[in-house]
């Protein structure tokens, strides 16, 4: 409750300063982005480990609901999201999850998918949205509004430029964090 109050206060402070660029505009920009291929590096900082775990590979997004994340290092793994079916292939094993059965995972996935596709409704179902910066360099902060999700993720910070997402940072409830940086490969 207090967290949300603070957030609301932050929002009141932030909004007037950047009145020329708002969530609606950002969503519009994001929705225009029809997808493409990108390199990614994901850095997970885990309290138990002395060094962060780094993985990298390629990801392909096709609007509005298909995402493929192909990890090459340290171990090959293919994660595909097709509508609400999430499948993970790793060492000849394939695991398929229907996200409708896993509301927490769905909320988590929606944070990425909603951002990539500029789907404001999907984002606002589970998160409060707080935007700063301008169209060329924006930072969108997602704060979970559902207690169950907040128990897993404290905050998601997405940053980017125009319709292109450049990084997604998760701060988990246990203090561990992961930072996904995205480097587009082809320019339209």
């Amino acid at each position: 409750m207090i967290k949300r109050l603070v957030a609301a206060l932050l929002l009141c402070l932030a909004m007037p300063a950047f009145a020329d660029f708002d969530v609606a505009q950002l969503m519009n920009d994001l929705a225009k982005h029809k997808g493409g291929k990108a390199k990614f590096v994901e850095k997970k900082t885990i309290a138990m480990l002395d060094k962060p775990v780094i993985s990298s590979g390629e990801m392909t997004y096709s609007a509005p609901d298909r995402l493929e994340k192909r990890t090459l290092l340290p171990k090959p793994e293919l994660l595909t999201l097709d509508k609400d079916l999430l499948s993970i292939e790793r060492e000849k094993q394939k695991l398929t999850i229907n996200l409708n059965n896993q509301p927490e995972a769905l909320a988590f996935i929606d944070s990425i998918r909603g951002t990539l596709s500029g789907n404001r409704a999907a984002l606002e179902k589970n998160y409060g949205l707080y935007l700063s910066g301008n169209s060329n360099k924006w930072v969108l902060t997602l704060l979970p509004s559902d207690q169950k999700i907040a128990a897993l993720v404290l905050r998601i910070v997405v940053s980017g430029s125009k319709g292109q997402v450049r990084s997604i940072e998760y701060l988990q409830a246990d203090g561990d964090r992961s930072l996904l940086t995205i480097e587009p490969l082809d320019v339209k």
């Binding site: 997970k44 885990i46 138990m48 993985s55 171990k75 994660l79 695991l95 229907n98 896993q102």
Partner: protein, 775 residues
């Protein structure tokens, strides 16, 4: 020695009372054992065991419809809570998370006894290095998120190794915390009954319990208009039994009433009617007695066949009453009895052929009909005359017979048209010979189309196991069975890693043999050893060895704990899995390893090669079912041919003239051709009971041919004989025709074939009777 009417009746009555006593004490059943092979092969035995006792045969799928998702979920939880307390159910699952947590905790607690990855190399410096580095890599993946909290106590990822082997197949959908259908509109439950699949009473009790508790829960949760859908082998058994029970009564009643009406119309006397039914009642009772004495149990379908038997058995008394009117008993005995006797013998040849069938239902039908017909004929010949000595003479059928004779004379015109028609029928059947037969055993199943569709829908929604592919191993004791399962499992692992099968289940996953548990325990290093090895292994790792104290403790506990036994599994759903796959039989233990196909179907030959030497028998249930049915069909063809040959041989021996033999057989063969072609044109897919029906057309229809032959030989047709044949034909057609009304495919097929076939046999026999006979 001459018996008086009174004594004869008394003797008959005593015999009937004895028969009634036997029938009273008979065991009646309407389960699927009607269809199961009498002399199964090893593969078929597995099939039979699975159908009768297998877990799949004890699963009931339940769907709840109506209201909102949250209301359905509440109803589902309430229903589960109530049913779980009942002794009728072994497990009631609805996807609530509680039970999964229990299972997971169990697996985690016993991971060092259960993990297949454990061997002496696993905990050497190099082994630890690889395993722990794999676990850290896994943290980079979304799958690793769940395992992160476990890392300090399970750095080598034994739980992950354990879970990886489990069914990663499609799980049912969830909605509001419980299982839901794919469209989310129904809540789903999967229930395992305590009663065996073959225990139809137990299944019925379980199903009734589900229905009544559902009604209660629906009221309690305020969703009174909620609907329950239920399916599963148990329901099929219960419904089939109800159908058969219902039909036995209904069909016998229809057939009896219609036949009684015909007889009353002809006899115009209740006393004659009662006397005429005497052989029928005797035959029906004798049929059940014979089956009961030979087989121990009487199938409901067999009794259902009684409707046809009534129609066939009543013929003899009709012949007797009508034909003896002028010549009296002695005249009938000399003039007509030999013909009737030959007709009885051909019928016995037809039914008798079925006796040799390995399809228990068919051999029972054969015995029932054979003893029924024989008894009816004997009662007609030896008892009826005694009792009917004082009976009133029946009305004069001569004028009726004379008009029939006029018709028969006119029928000769149809010879060529019939031959042309029959040739056309033969041509049609030849051209379409590939599409005539229904190749599936399910063609015989009395389960309604609607029930089958519901079942398919529920099965798809809940992703219920169908256990099509099974490897089966028999062993002397539990330990040997588990060791064999592990050995076969290791061979199957090769197929899994080659991507040839998606996976398999094994009781040894949750209950490893004592030998492999001990081997795993011996692979666990002592605390000091492990500590120093970890120091070396983790020198360059991001994971510091000093964070792994819980690992050292758990390992120490595992090293000192006793082997896991079946008792420790109690309270988890893993216990159910083990019990389903590890069975104690009368002569030892059996292990079942269900195989899951991957993208493509399983190649049976490949699996058999892979399992060579493990003692495991690989079975594709669908193939076995189809093979079973094909065996039945093949056998039925042979038996029909043998029956036909026996009839032809009998006729040939009696008639002693190829011309006369041909004259009797030609109309029968033409009738069979016409009936089969007509059925095909009407869209009936033929199955083995149609085939049996064809044999019965010949067996029953030859009676008419024989009377015409008799008349031809004498150069004169007695009008009364003609009348008796028409009446007898009518009752036979009514009897068999009634079966055509049945929803039970076995009875329906015989009915639609023999009913019209009998009429055609008479008609064609009349058409082809030699000219000049009916003057």
């Amino acid at each position: 020695m001459k018996l008086t009417a009174g004594r004869t009746f008394l003797l008959w009555l005593l015999a009937m009372l004895a028969a009634a006593a036997i029938v009273w004490n008979s065991r009646f059943t309407a389960d699927m054992s009607f269809f199961l092979p009498a002399h199964p092969t090893a593969e078929q035995q597995v099939l039979v065991d699975q159908l009768k006792e297998g877990v799949v045969s004890r699963l009931l799928m339940v769907a709840i419809e109506g209201g909102e998702a949250s209301q359905r979920a509440q109803l589902s939880r309430d229903l589960r809570g109530q049913l779980e307390k009942l002794p009728d159910f072994v497990s009631v699952q609805n996807g609530e998370t509680g039970s999964q947590t229990v299972d997971r905790d169990f697996l985690f607690k016993h991971r060092y006894a259960l993990s297949p990855a454990i061997n002496p190399e696993r905990f050497t410096v190099d082994g630890l290095k690889v395993a722990i580095s794999d676990s850290i890599d896994l943290l980079a993946s979304p799958t690793g998120m769940m395992l992160k909290p476990l890392l300090p106590s399970d750095p080598t990822g034994e739980l992950f190794a354990l879970l990886s082997g489990l069914n990663a197949g499609i799980q049912p959908n969830s909605s509001a915390g419980v299982w839901a259908s794919r469209d989310g509109e129904r809540a789903m439950l999967l229930i395992q009954t305590k009663a065996l699949g073959s225990d139809t009473d137990g299944q019925e009790q379980a199903i009734n319990a589900i229905r009544s508790h559902f009604a209660g829960s629906a009221q309690a949760t305020g969703l009174a208009d909620a609907k329950l859908q239920l399916s599963g082998p148990g329901l099929f058994a219960v419904n089939s039994r109800a159908t058969i029970r219902d039909e036995v009564g209904r069909l016998s009643l229809i057939s009896s009433l219609a036949i009684i009406a015909v007889l009353l119309f002809v006899y115009r006397s209740f006393k004659l009617l009662a006397l005429g039914l005497l052989p029928v009642v005797s035959g029906a009772l004798a049929g059940i007695v014979a089956v009961s004495l030979v087989y121990g149990t009487v199938f409901g379908i067999t009794i259902g066949f009684g409707a046809a038997l009534i129609g066939e058995a009543v013929d003899y008394s009709i012949y007797y009453f009508v034909q003896s009117r002028h010549g009296g008993l002695d005249g009938w005995r000399t003039r007509f009895w030999p013909t009737v006797r030959l007709g009885v013998l051909t019928s016995i040849c037809g039914f008798g052929a079925l006796l040799f069938s390995g399809f228990p239902g068919l051999s029972q039908l054969g015995l029932y009909a054979l003893s029924g017909v024989l008894t009816a004929a004997l009662v007609t010949r030896f008892i009826l005359p005694q009792l009917s000595a004082t009976a009133p003479a029946m009305s004069d059928l001569v004028p009726f017979g004379q008009s029939l004779a006029a018709i028969v004379r006119a029928l000769a015109l149809f010879r060529w048209p019939v031959i042309v028609l029959a040739l056309a029928a033969a041509l049609l059947l030849f051209v379409e010979r590939d599409g005539l037969w229904n190749p599936e055993l399910s063609a015989l199943s009395p389960i309604s189309k609607a029930d089958q569709l519901t079942d398919m829908a529920l099965r798809a929604d809940i992703a219920a196991p169908d256990s099509r592919y099974l490897a089966v191993i028999n062993a002397a004791d539990r330990e040997a069975a588990l060791q064999a399962a592990e050995k076969a499992g290791a061979q199957l692992d090769l197929l899994v890693s080659a991507g040839r099968i998606a996976g398999y289940d094994s009781p040894a996953r949750f209950l490893p043999s004592a030998a492999s548990q001990e081997a795993r325990r011996n692979s666990l290093p002592g605390s000091e050893d492990l500590r120093s090895r970890l120091q070396t292994a983790l020198a360059d790792s991001p994971l510091a060895a000093n964070k792994l104290t819980p690992f050292l403790q758990d390992m120490d506990n595992a090293r000192q704990s006793a082997s896991l036994t079946r008792v420790e599994l109690n309270g988890t759903s893993l216990a159910l899995a083990v019990d389903a796959l590890l069975l104690q039989q009368s002569n030892g233990w059996s292990v079942l390893l269900p195989l899951r196909p991957g993208e493509q179907d399983i190649d049976a030959a490949e699996v058999r090669t892979a399992l060579a030497g493990s003692g495991a028998l690989f079975i594709d249930m669908k193939v076995e079912f189809d093979k079973l049915y094909n065996d039945y069909l093949h056998e039925a063809m042979l038996l029909s041919l043998a029956g036909l040959l026996a009839i032809v041989a009998l006729l040939a021996a009696s008639l002693r003239s190829p011309r006369r033999l041909a004259a009797v057989l030609l109309p029968l063969i033409l009738s069979v051709l016409l009936v089969v072609a007509a059925l095909h044109l009407l869209g009936e897919r033929l199955h083995l009971l149609h085939l049996i029906g064809m044999l019965l057309i010949v067996a029953v229809g030859s009676n008419y041919g024989l009377f015409f032959d008799h008349a031809s030989e004498q150069g004169h047709f007695d009008p009364e004989t003609l009348a008796s044949m028409l009446i007898a034909n009518l009752t036979t057609a009514i009897g068999f025709g009634t079966l055509a009304l049945s929803k039970v495919p076995v009875l329906h097929a015989v009915g639609v074939t023999v009913g019209p076939g009998a009429i055609l046999a008479l008609l064609l026999s009349a058409i082809f009777v030699s000219r000049g006979t009916c003057r």
